[in-house]
């Protein structure tokens, strides 16, 4: 199971999580976020998200 899950309803595609991700595994397409393998589990994306669209799975 992926470490981070994305709530598509909440996500506004602002790009903050992409900017702070040290592993650069978050890709922002024009209509969706994709999180690839290699997550360092630092939780920075969760902290930066203005609307709480990212959270830990499980």
């Amino acid at each position: 199971m992926e470490y981070i899950k994305v709530d598509k309803e909440k996500c506004g595609l602002c790009g903050g999580c992409v900017a702070v991700c040290p592993a650069k595994v978050i890709i922002m397409y024009k209509d969706r976020l994709e999180i690839r393998d290699g997550c360092l589990k630092c939780d920075k994306c969760i902290k930066v998200c203005p609307v709480g669209a990212l959270s830990k799975n499980g």
Binding site: G12, L13, C14, G16, A19, V20, V48, C49, P50
Partner: protein, 404 residues
Amino acid sequence: MDKNYDVIIVGGGPAGLYAAYKIEKSYKVILFEKDDVIGEPIICAEGISNNTLKQFFKESDLPFIRNRFSKLKVKYKDLEANVDIPDMGLIIDRSKFEKYIADKVKKENNFEIKTGSFVVDAKVEDEQVKVILENGEEYFGKILIIADGVESYLPNKVGINSVCNLIDMYSCYQQVIHDPKVKDEEIIFDFTPSVAPGGYLWVFPRGNNEANFGLGITSSLDCEKPYKLLNEYRKKNYPDAKILREFPGCVSVNQLSRMYTDRVMVIGDSARAADPITGGGIDNALRTANFAAIVANSVLKGKDFSAKRMSQYQELVEKDNSYSIKKQNQLREMILKMSEEELDQFFTSAINLFNGKKILSTDFYSTIYSFKSSFKAIGMVINFMGSLMKDKYLLKIIMRLMWK
């Protein structure tokens, strides 16, 4: 199809578009934009200084201006400063603004703008730069200008570290509201720590009692999410406001220590060039884009595309004496380290100093000289207020006087 270009620009926001506009028409230029339409979606508070606008657009009729304001209100807890700032700033329609520049790029420069084109990778090779689109298509250029916005994804692909620390990131939430309480002539900043920890709340008037009403916090602080904080404030202060649109946004600051490499320049939000205090990104997007275009025009006349040659771009950015982003960042770092007591003193000084004053563009020298007798703390305060007024000329004078 020939896929070789002189300049490849990635990103069709203000920075990328303006860079394209300023590159000489004789060169072959292509700009890639991820979204399907230039000017959409917009995640922006839409403030810009009048000086910047005059500097970068010589036309007298600019069709993208929403509203001009003439009063600044700075709030801190129960204190407030009301300052007259005629002609200092304005609110633009960012969507029209981007379409306006894109139109020039296409019609005046004859450059190609490819929308719906997400550049997923870039590689610097010996004789060229290669970019790869989501669909696998490859394009080649002599120079690459990266303007991919706050997410700053592409710089890392060419060896420029653009990973942003949480402390350098503002997490924001904005609502476009309509409320008779919104005054079209007044821009409001509220720095009360409980309202917006490590940031501020803004009311940027769009005209017709509409406002870009938003809030940004420093992302490293443990506090409520911005959308919650904003809604709390709105319910208390604008209970009858109608929400027309709302969206999250992020603003990264603390400009990249290296904004270039072989054949590559990084501009605008992608280079974290937004003003560290106000988070305003458009002014410096245009500024960095202009310098990148100057360097591209000159570099393309020769054969040297080395990092050393491209470093001229960063030199121009840093030597631009109308504005010092480093000083602004130092100031931000100082404010972030202040205890609540120190913040109280700082904002009380700022508010007492400026309340009731009128700042005219022509009257800077006398205004500043009247403050000169004070000490460094006051210099910080003035510097801070200057950044709110988004006037680089004012800042320049203040810095000369106070920071030596």
